[in-house]
């Protein structure tokens, strides 16, 4: 599972980005997205597009943690969201690892989909494998809460201005640690 975590200001400006991979079940914590390295803008596009859903869900869901709210099927990218009361959005894109043996033929593509569907079902007990399982929801919730705590502290720093990019290495370390701990 690869993760891309972004905090967006109320004006949709990204104030914090980090990409990391799972550390569970032997993961080395390095993100391996399905897009080539030159296409990392894809993560941003997907996350940005999920704001459509966030904006809608935030009126129907009273909580701060909105759970898994959106999926981008072509890349099997799942988006979970967390809203701070002040309007910052924490968005976590998670993407299960690309399965091997994806050939370019059309039938290969279809079998790929079928296969990924069945794999997620087969190993639903593991957090890493199934992005929509209750375990994952819970893990993401813990992750989000932990980051929220750190975020509040960071936002309290007198030298931090609302909506400004978070450049604090302390915060980054804390996010990395939270990612290691929960995801």
């Amino acid at each position: 599972m690869s993760y891309y975590f972004t905090i967006l200001s109320p004006t949709d400006t990204p104030i914090f980005n980090i990409a990391f991979g799972t550390s569970k079940s032997g993961g080395d914590g390095i993100a391996r997205f399905r897009f080539p390295d030159t296409a990392q803008y894809m993560n941003q596009f997907i996350i940005h597009s999920s704001l459509d859903i966030v904006e809608e869900t935030q009126w129907t869901n009273g909580g701060m943690y909105l759970k898994h709210i959106d999926t981008y099927p072509p890349a099997a990218a799942y988006i979970s969201a967390f809203l701070t009361p002040s309007g910052a959005r924490f968005l976590l894109l998670h993407q299960p690892p690309q399965l091997p043996a994806s050939n370019s033929s059309s039938l290969g593509a279809s079998s790929l989909l079928g296969a990924s569907g069945s794999t997620t079902r087969a190993s639903s007990s593991s957090i890493a494998a199934n992005p929509t399982s209750p375990q994952t929801e819970e893990a993401v919730r813990q992750f989000m809460n932990e980051i929220y705590e750190s975020y509040v502290k960071t936002a309290m720093s007198p030298f931090y201005k609302q909506g400004m990019e978070i450049r604090s290495p302390v915060f980054r370390t804390k996010v990395t640690a939270a990612g290691k701990k929960w995801l």
Binding site: D12, T13, P14, E56, E165
Partner: protein
């Protein structure tokens, strides 16, 4: 400006990696260096006269609106593109061409009428320039039955339809096509792709680029290319056992006044069609309406003789007869009352590729199909080979078709539906309505005497698993036929309930193609029924039905054309439902791409369609949320990128503009994305599209001073202004009551076009 027809071949697009180094664009097209001198000269000349190389926005605006595909009769596509600024109320324009698409879908499932003409009739028609004989002559006129067609539904209420059609098929070709089709299934997809390619090429030529037409709100209606693809998808599937749409509802048996033994010939033709070698395949119900036509040659034969014969026919064959009076000589364009024969709307990919669509070239195709056909060279029918008919002939044919449909075929179908509904469906409903499939089994055993009933466990025994079809007389087949009839009669409520009723039968029999078909059409008829589907639960069940259909077609039967048809119907009909259904529509479109059901161009068109699906979900009641503008914009940008990679900068430009328009509503500043990587990507894309677009039209964009360079000549600054206006135009239809978020200090909120770091690429 160089005429688009002279356009140089499009270069492969540059890389889109955001980190393209400065200066790469200088050497991007080294091979172009020599060939550009003359163009440079031309350009220089142009510069001295007026502002050269208008910015992309201006250039695209000048482009001719994409003329509709040659076969579309849509008036709308010729509607001038209205400026967005001229729109009136932003809310009365919800119409986005979905009615158009809906009509297209409904007409795709028109009743089929087989044509079986005597040799003398075909001979007569061939002399008029229609190599395919009588079938070819009447076929194009079946696309729309003139005047209103009134249909009564199962509960007795009538409704008039303006757009009713009938599909004429050649009885000669009928048995053969499905047999040859099994092998040709996959190829129908490659054929579709080929057609799209051809269309694109021709669009680059005479059409000079194709910008999707827009309605008054600036929302693009379905692009003609998409409609072309959709029409291909809907006509790629021909008659098959598991559905009766391609099966003849009636058969027209035609003789001409030249015939020496008319009644005998009619009997002989009837005999051949019901038992001879022209007999339809076993899976087609042979109880269909026979309709007898006497074609009278106005020029050579005596009308009194023909009238006499016609009266005789009526005595022998009843009321399903028609006297069609045609002139036997060929009409040419210079004749006073010449009328151009319309082109067929519904051509299978194979036919379209062999050029049948461009009427007059039928012979090529017919020769392929019928080896026994005369190898006559094409008679010159006019400058462009389009056949013409005399006005009187056209009127006669239209009248004939109207009479055929209104007086015979539709009453016949209404009658069959009523009878089957009464005799089979209602009995099933009565018992099994409460007891479901248990009741059904009682019922089948109760009336089980009808079949040989080898009674495999759970199955009814009416299904023949070796040949994969139900006997046409089995209740399952008849119920399916009844549902199809109801569907074609546009009684979607009855159709949906009937399809729903037989789904489980097919499942029990493991008749997977039937199973898929019933789910597909059940979902489609539910979506077409304007009254149904108020609740959200229904939407879920519709989704489930498409899921089942797709799984059975694809995984169990590997039937790609039908799966593609089912999903495309789902996309379009869900989209036209609006609201949350549009998201399902987008998901199904993505599934089509994911399954790889369409070729590369098809993929791009589906990408555009995903965008259109999301774009049609709009926010409610002036709220800022609820729309899917970002998603729509994203997919449009992706489509632009793909068009560019496919070497079509014109369409890329159109998609890009559409994407920016969609994003316009959600971005603080128009054209300025808050997320830097997105900004870089879009900027690069914008630039590449411009380079390619102008490059394809013979402009040398390399030596031109970079348009956003701070040091500007007068003319480029003029241009810069235009670009800026475009980039920073505020959306005119911005929703009222937008949240005020102005208090936040946005670091990248304003982008100075002159020294933004993002413009490095452009300066290269």
């Amino acid at each position: 400006m160089t005429s688009p027809g002279d356009a140089a071949p499009v270069k492969p697009p540059p890389s889109f990696s955001p980190g393209v180094a400065r200066g790469t664009s200088k050497s991007r097209y080294p091979d172009e260096a020599e060939s550009t001198h003359s163009i440079d000269a031309e350009l220089a000349e142009a510069r001295s006269v007026s502002s050269p190389t208008p910015p992309l926005s201006a250039t695209t605006a000048e482009l001719p609106i994409r003329s509709s595909s040659p076969h579309a009769r849509s008036v709308r596509s010729s509607t001038p593109q209205l400026a967005r600024s001229s729109l009136g109320s932003p809310f009365d324009g919800r119409f986005d061409g979905s009615e158009d698409i809906r009509s297209l879908i409904i007409r795709a499932f028109s009743p089929t009428v087989a044509i079986y003409a005597s040799d003398d009739t075909d001979e007569l028609v061939r002399n008029k320039g229609f190599k395919g004989g009588f079938w070819e002559l009447v076929r194009p006129f079946g696309d729309t039955v003139s005047g209103k067609v009134v249909i009564r539904d199962s509960v007795g209420s009538s409704r008039a339809w303006e757009d009713y059609g009938v599909r004429f098929v050649d009885l000669n070709g009928f048995g053969r096509t499905p047999a040859g089709r099994e092998s040709g299934q996959e190829s129908s997809l490659t054929q579709m792709e080929e057609i799209l390619e051809q269309q694109l090429e021709s669009a680059e030529g005479p059409f000079g680029g194709s910008i999707p037409p827009k309605d008054a709100l600036g929302v693009p209606v379905a692009s003609p290319l998409w409609k072309l693809l959709l029409r291909q998808i809907l006509s790629a599937t021909s008659a098959a056992p598991h559905e009766t749409f391609g099966h003849p509802v009636a058969s027209v048996i035609a003789i001409s006044s030249r015939n020496m033994a008319p009644l005998e010939t009619l009997r002989q033709l009837y005999g051949e069609s019901s038992s001879g070698d022209k007999r339809l395949p076993d899976w087609v119900n042979s109880e269909y309406l026979r309709y007898y036509v006497l074609v009278h040659d106005e020029e050579r034969d005596d009308i009194t003789e023909s009238t006499k014969l016609y009266d005789q026919m009526k005595r022998h064959f009843g009321l399903h007869c028609h006297l069609l009076r045609l002139r036997s000589s060929q009409c040419i364009v210079t004749d006073d009352d010449s009328v151009q024969v319309p082109s067929c709307e519904w051509l299978s990919p194979q036919e379209r590729l062999s050029g049948v669509g461009e009427a007059g070239k039928y012979s090529a195709f017919i020769r392929q199909l019928e080896t026994n056909n005369i190898a006559e060279t094409l008679v010159d029918l006019g400058t462009d080979g389009t056949p013409y008919l005399f006005d009187s002939d056209v009127t006669a044919i239209r009248t004939f078709i109207r009479e055929l449909m209104v007086q015979s075929v539709i009453p016949f179908m209404e009658n069959r539906v009523a009878v089957w509904n009464d005799q089979i469906a209602s009995r099933r409903r009565g018992i099994s309505g409460r007891f479901m499939s248990v009741g059904r089994r009682f019922m089948t055993f109760g009336s089980g005497s009808r079949s040989g009933a080898t009674g495999s466990s759970g199955g009814s025994g009416n299904y023949d698993p070796t040949n994969n079809f139900y006997g046409p007389d089995s209740p399952e087949a008849i119920l399916r036929k009844m549902a199809d009839f109801a569907f074609m009669l546009r009684d979607w409520k009855l159709a949906a309930s009937t399809y729903e009723m037989i789904q489980s039968d097919f499942k029990n029999d493991k008749a997977w193609k039937y199973h898929a078909g019933a789910h597909e059409m059940c979902a489609v008829s539910m979506l077409l029924n304007p009254l149904a589907m108020s609740a959200k639960i229904k939407l879920e069940s519709v989704d489930q039905m498409f899921e089942n259909a797709c799984y059975s077609y694809l995984t169990r039967c590997s039937d790609v054309p039908h799966a593609l048809r089912a999903l495309s119907l789902g996309v379009e009909l869900l989209k036209s439902r609006g609201g949350s259904a549009t998201e399902s529509a987008a998901r199904w479109a993505m599934r089509v791409m994911d399954f790889g059901l369409v070729g590369p161009i098809g993929q791009i068109l589906f990408t555009e369609r995903v965008s259109a699906c999301y774009a049609s979900k709009i926010s409610m009641g002036g709220a800022k949320w609820g729309g899917r503008r970002r998603k729509a914009g994203m997919w449009s940008i992706f489509a632009a990128n793909q068009w560019l990679k496919a070497g079509n900068p014109t369409l890329a430009a159109a998609c890009l503009e559409e994407g920016e328009r969609l994003y316009g509503d959600v971005l603080e500043t128009d054209g300025v994305f808050p997320i830097p990587e997105m900004q870089t990507f879009v900027d690069n894309l914008r630039h590449s599209v411009k380079v390619e677009y102008l490059g394809a039209r013979g402009f040398d964009t390399r030596d031109e001073p970079a348009s956003e360079d701070p040091v500007l000549t007068d003319e480029t600054s003029e241009k810069l202004e235009k670009i800026d206006k475009r980039n920073h135009r505020r959306s005119l239809i911005g929703l009222p009551g937008q949240l005020d978020v102005g208090n936040f200090n946005m670091t990248s909120g304003t982008r100075d076009p002159e020294n933004s770091p993002n413009d490095d690429f452009e300066r290269a």
